[in-house]
Symmetry: C2
Subunit: 441 residues, 2 copies
């Protein structure tokens, strides 16, 4: 039976930027069947969205599913302590069941923030993460933390190039296309500090043949470029360009330390950048997002992982990301609301290579959508709805979330599981992992 | 009858930084009667706070009560358009009843963010704002937007030095000490662009004699210092220092464009600074908050007004303010959680000169407190409660709020009024004001 969502203000985020007030979105068999100012002639079950804003499901292009239990384990410490003293021991102490719960809790937080698609840039126990996403009902790209250069890496995590690629090939065979196609697999690279050129080249080849993005953390800290210069003779982005790695299949995360020429290389290649405001400010630096957008780089947003942010809210990232660029440029007009909201919808879908499927409300696309209720004290008054989505919407305004035609959140209630039970298990497992990892805050 | 809040984790924010897990807070006649690991011997009605975190009511040191209806009226525009094309016409179109509703809506948003004390740095129709705060049950400093230099100011707003001081004297007589002492009056100055030295000196004299802070917007934009140099021969903060205006009674807002010497002048004088992260980034620049704290300046936080932020959430400001300073300094250890949480509690109370009354949970102080429920997906897991208050708490975690012994929010419900009705009136009046002001977004 077709579902007709009617009476709401519909922000389509299609190429024309059409806003329908009021508008109708019809859903059938997991897909959007019709979008317009008037209903279609088809019979349908009506759902009123009067007073609500209907937007496409948001896209979180950088979200470490296996780090959720580590939220708060690495606050206010320097980067080396963050990575080697907290995150690596935490990751080493995780069981596959821990990761399933971590991914599930992370996915539920994403749903409550209006996110319907997640890209994991690499974690542990991918089978656990996959089961978590499957249970949460969300769309996602799984990825495995990948390194073949042992410097600084714990004994238990060392792998050869062949091993790490072979494990990923197996995961791709198992997960790509799972859960009625909602789940995909993505080859990922941690950073150039711990990845050989052989691994980088093997990964891009596989990513292109699989048709999903190659994800890599790039230009994270100043010292990274120094390291790449010392080992490869030039900076990270230039080196990737020389290797032929940059292209529309490439999704680079962070990209904090870029020179103008490197921004041009990214733009010309069609590569995408995932900007992660909070984690960048916390441990890395201040990325030139407005400059990247001006140069034509495709920029999307991501939350990073819970120990780096610690809010896993794409909505909060969106608000703060616009503010930072305005402040850096001393220009309140940069990253205006329409440009910004595209970053978490259309741009995110393109960055993941699935803009034919998601990223806007258009007939034929997957039925991934969010009902926003602006009638709360933090969002009232609304003078311009699109602007309000960026400047005053918070997760508490996310009323209902649909992914592939199924409601995952309905009027504030998670429908796919018992949330209280999940939270209790999350807290319990997080404490046990921290004890096993011997991490003290 | 005494109330005993028991079983929660109590973050006292007293000088020793004591955290009680679990702890007891007892309240009688609007005051905190006892804080400790064990209950007192007195008879009391018990209220369980098991699973919750008990913190002092937060202090918002810069909050324009009369701007709430203008949220979203001035997004993505340059500063001059912001001020002259949007805010001044908006303010000129307000009626006293509009301001009462604006203040009420603003206060309710503050309550939902755990704020129990507001300082208004100057608005229109102060009687309306006062009635709004009175109805909301919150603690606050009222203030009137004050200017005596006509440059760029709309005809309707022009006043002489004597007039503007006389109006404020009347307001002080009417409002200071109202609502059982919850309301105070504070002399305020808009900016040095529109305030004569005579007005500045008259205001500081009155503020000191009344015993409430003199609030002023200072060093907001680079051009301000150029203007002050041209008209007074030196920069704003140096000029105020020369006039003898700086001192523990002085609360300067924004303070974005400061030289090292000016930071020292603020520190040595005992003046306080209200840092407003979002509005600074949006229209002004990036203030050196970590440098100010290092130099010994008393820094507190504020939200500014709804058209400048647009989230009026001190909790979101807290999260983002710590991130920005870490990013500016490239040092994840600056503005650690305990320092940051002091900014919205203890420091806020000191900045307003009422740290003997509020700002920490200690016997004898006013019963202004918040129950935080961390058992939500955005805050789970908690490894360190104080850190979590800064890094992952959101307004949705604010469960109950008490001011002067009275619950204003109880288990997520506003107790002092019908919130739905207020929101409908807020939206309606906001649209009417925008029409009258002929402001288009």
């Amino acid at each position: 039976m077709r579902l007709r969502i009617e009476g709401g203000l519909v922000v389509t985020m299609d190429a024309s930027g059409r806003v329908l007030d009021p508008g109708v979105v019809e859903v059938e068999d997991g897909r959007i069947a019709h979008v317009g100012p008037e209903p279609s002639a088809e019979e349908a079950e009506a759902r009123s969205a009067a007073g609500l804003i209907v937007v496409p499901g948001l896209v979180n292009t950088h979200c470490h599913l296996s780090q959720q239990l580590g939220r708060g384990l690495a606050d206010d410490v320097d980067l080396l302590t963050w990575l080697r003293g907290r995150i690596w021991p935490y990751e080493a102490a995780l069981s596959e069941e821990d990761v399933e719960v971590s991914a599930l809790a992370c996915a539920v937080e994403q749903i409550r923030n209006g996110v319907t698609t997640i890209a994991d840039p690499g974690g542990q126990h991918v089978d656990g993460a996959g089961r978590g996403l499957e249970r949460a009902g969300i769309r996602g790209f799984l990825g495995r933390s990948t390194m073949d250069e042992p410097e600084g890496v714990p004994e238990s995590r060392r792998e050869s190039t062949e091993e790490t690629l072979a494990v990923q090939d197996e995961l791709a065979a198992r997960w790509d296309g799972a859960a009625d196609g909602r789940l995909r697999f993505s080859y990922t690279l941690r950073t150039i500090f711990n990845c050989s050129d052989e691994l980088i080249e093997g990964s891009v080849e596989r990513a292109r043949s699989l048709g999903t993005p190659l994800q890599m953390h790039i230009a994270e800290i100043e010292a990274e470029n120094e390291h790449t210069k010392a080992t490869r003779g030039t900076t990270t982005v230039r080196h990737l360009s020389n290797l032929g790695v940059l292209g529309p299949w490439f999704l680079g995360a962070h990209a904090v330390w870029l020179e103008d020429e490197e921004i041009s290389l990214l733009a010309e290649s069609g590569a995408a950048v995932s900007h992660n405001l909070a984690s960048n400010l916390r441990v890395l630096g201040m990325p030139r997002v407005a400059d990247m957008l001006d140069a034509g780089v495709l920029v999307a947003l991501g939350t990073d992982g819970a120990p780096a942010n610690n809010r896993m809210s794409l909505i909060d990232e969106l608000w703060a990301a616009t503010l930072l660029q305005k402040g850096m440029r001393l220009d309140p007009t940069v990253l205006d609301a329409r440009t910004a909201f595209a970053m978490v919808t259309r741009n995110g879908a393109r960055a993941l290579g699935i803009d034919h499927e998601i990223g806007s409300l258009e007939a034929g696309k997957a039925a991934d959508l969010v009902l926003v209720d602006p009638r709360t004290v933090n969002m009232t008054p609304v003078h311009d709805a699109v602007s309000a989505l960026v400047t005053s919407m918070k997760s508490e305004n996310v009323n209902s979330v649909m992914c592939a035609g199924r409601w995952l959140l309905e009027e504030g209630q998670i429908t796919v599981l018992d949330e209280r039970e999940l939270l209790a298990e999350t807290q319990e497992r997080a404490e046990a992992v921290a004890r096993r990892a011997e991490v003290r805050t």
